[in-house]
Amino acid sequence: MSSNRGKGSAAGLAAFAAIIAAAPFLLPDYYQSVLIVAGLFAILSMGLNLLMGYAGQISLGHAAFYGLSAYASGILTTTFHWPVPAGIAAGVVLSGVTAALIGIPTLKLKGHYLAMGTLGFGVIVYIVFNEAVGLTAGPSGLTGIPRLSAFGKTFSTDREYYFVVWGTAFVLFVLARNLVRSRMGRALRAIHTSESAASVLGIDVARYKAFVFVLSAVYAGIAGALYAHFVTFVSPGSFSFHASIQIVTMVVLGGMASLWGAVAGAVFLTVLPEWLRAIEDYDILVYGAILVLTMRFLPGGLAEGAERARGTLVSAFRRKSPASAAAASGAEGRKP
């Protein structure tokens, strides 16, 4: 696996780009808005995966960064008539700066205390969205946010917006991939394994943790601003504790410490409800069951599942034994 990793992943990236480019033309029209939402969640879960999967720091309040940027960009472009790109930039900066400020004390916490710290932060931000009515328009939500326009072009159709969102997701994916393969990525993994050992090795644990926290908040901020200018409406409900849990679920389902997994988890959990509409009321049960079953039978998430499926397939081909090949294809067939 490691010998052809570079080549393999370059091919993977090319395939990823090709899928992104082809998807809107292959799928029915009404999937476009679903895919845009999936793209936003993909950006969110990539960011959170850097923090949770690679650096091992849990965050149960990530929706706060998502919301801060969405609101900032929404308010600046609507109430203060800023141009949209400036609003987006300001939103992303706000998310990043907030993360830097609260990251310093929060990241000193460990385990469940860190979970509580981030959760509490999320709850506070959510309450501010609800109560700062003069600024955020309160629980009714902020309306009339303009669609994205930049360089004299307005991205008004869903197809155009799809390419904006997934183009951004692709760039962020490549950035994250390069990061985790760098010296920095190795440092993060060392922190994940043991903070004490990492610091003995001369890794500035606090600085690295703060950096990756800010970075994941910036990812969330980018998704948030893009969200605001897509739906053209923001309300606190989209950034509640429930939303934070949803992002965590995507990361976990996709597979910790796997960027591909983060994307797959986000897409899967966004598109799944579309299929579940047939089951109507029961979909809430399916959602819970997926969480429990994934953890039990596929703890590495979709990423591990894909790896296993590939392994089974490869060994089946190598053996060329008809019996095991049939078994492998059977297993493949059952995979969604």
């Binding site: 929060t106 916490l109 309450i127 849990i245 009321d281 809430i284 069951a289 969480l291 953890m295």
Partner: protein, 293 residues
């Protein structure tokens, strides 16, 4: 602001805080044996109230029968949750277990929604009677039940963990599973017992709360959140701290609503919680623990 108002804030805060504390006790129970936070704890509370309501509504049972029946059913569910979802995951990282409990909470909540519907329900109070005046403030008889039962559960837990061999064995499991098992403690059984107990405590909370706070399929979310906060504030694993944490949060919310802003009352409680955490990263009554390297 007259003193009677202040007293009323305290009285209300203590009642609400006791509900958080009771939920927090359930968290503590499971944390003490498994070292994980059971995010389905709030659902045990919800189920306690809902099952009591519906065994009266559908089963036509009187309250004194419905209450113990509901508590028993939920306790059995606690055992079921452990057997079906936690035990097979033994040895998996804590974050996986946390996610599993989140999944279980969604399942329980969704199941309750499908079976019982989305309406809110009220349970009749345990004892009749008008509000009791208390130095200008007033107190519902049911609040006395809530505070009383919370304290009784707290004392029982304290005795259980400190004095009984099972309790000590459970604590040992949380400290070091392998060592506990080497000492001849059946870790699996201990975990099951802890789930049963925490479901029991949760359900008990649910039935005594329902007459005051009303109940619905989704009340578990907020209680779970506040209960978790109470646990953390008091220092994880400490039953006394859990109840104290709950009371502190309840009173803070009530005073916050009374003196500052009702809109920001939850935020005020959480800001204070975070500030405390930053100053004392292992909670008010928690012991600073050394990390294993």
């Amino acid at each position: 602001m007259p003193f009677s108002s202040f007293l009323q804030f305290i009285v209300s805060g203590v009642t609400v805080g006791a509900t958080y504390g009771l939920t927090a006790l359930g968290f503590t129970m499971i944390f003490n044996t498994t070292g994980i936070i059971n995010f389905a704890q709030g659902e045990f509370v919800m189920l306690g109230g809902m099952l009591a309501v519906f065994s009266m509504k559908w089963g036509g049972l009187p309250l004194p029968v419905a209450v113990p029946l509901s508590v028993l059913l939920v306790t059995a569910m606690g055992v079921g949750v452990d057997r079906l979802t936690i035990r097979p995951m033994r040895g998996k990282p804590a974050v996986s277990l946390v996610i599993v409990t989140i999944g279980v909470s969604i399942l329980l909540r969704g199941g309750a929604m499908l079976i019982f519907g989305k309406d809110t329900h009220a349970l009749p109070p345990f004892s009749e009677g008008a509000a009791i005046p208390l130095g200008g403030a007033s107190l519902l008889p049911q609040s006395i039940w809530v505070v009383g039962i919370t304290l009784a559960v707290l004392v029982a837990m304290k005795v259980f963990f400190d004095r009984t061999i099972t309790g000590k064995a459970m604590l040992a499991c949380a400290c070091d599973r392998k060592a506990a098992s080497l000492m001849g403690i059946n870790v699996d059984v201990m975990v099951t017992v802890s789930f049963a107990f925490s479901a029991l405590v949760g359900a008990l909370g649910g039935v005594i709360l329902a007459p005051i706070t009303l109940t619905a399929y989704d009340v578990g979310i907020l209680l779970g959140l506040k209960g978790f906060a109470a646990c953390i504030l008091g220092g994880l694993g400490n039953p006394f701290g859990a109840v104290a944490g709950g009371l502190i949060i309840g009173v803070l919310e009530s005073l916050g609503a009374g003196f500052l802003s009702s809109g920001y009352k939850d935020a005020i409680a959480f800001v204070i919680l975070l500030a405390l955490l930053f100053l004392r990263p292992s909670g008010l009554f928690g012991k600073a623990s050394a990390d294993r390297v």
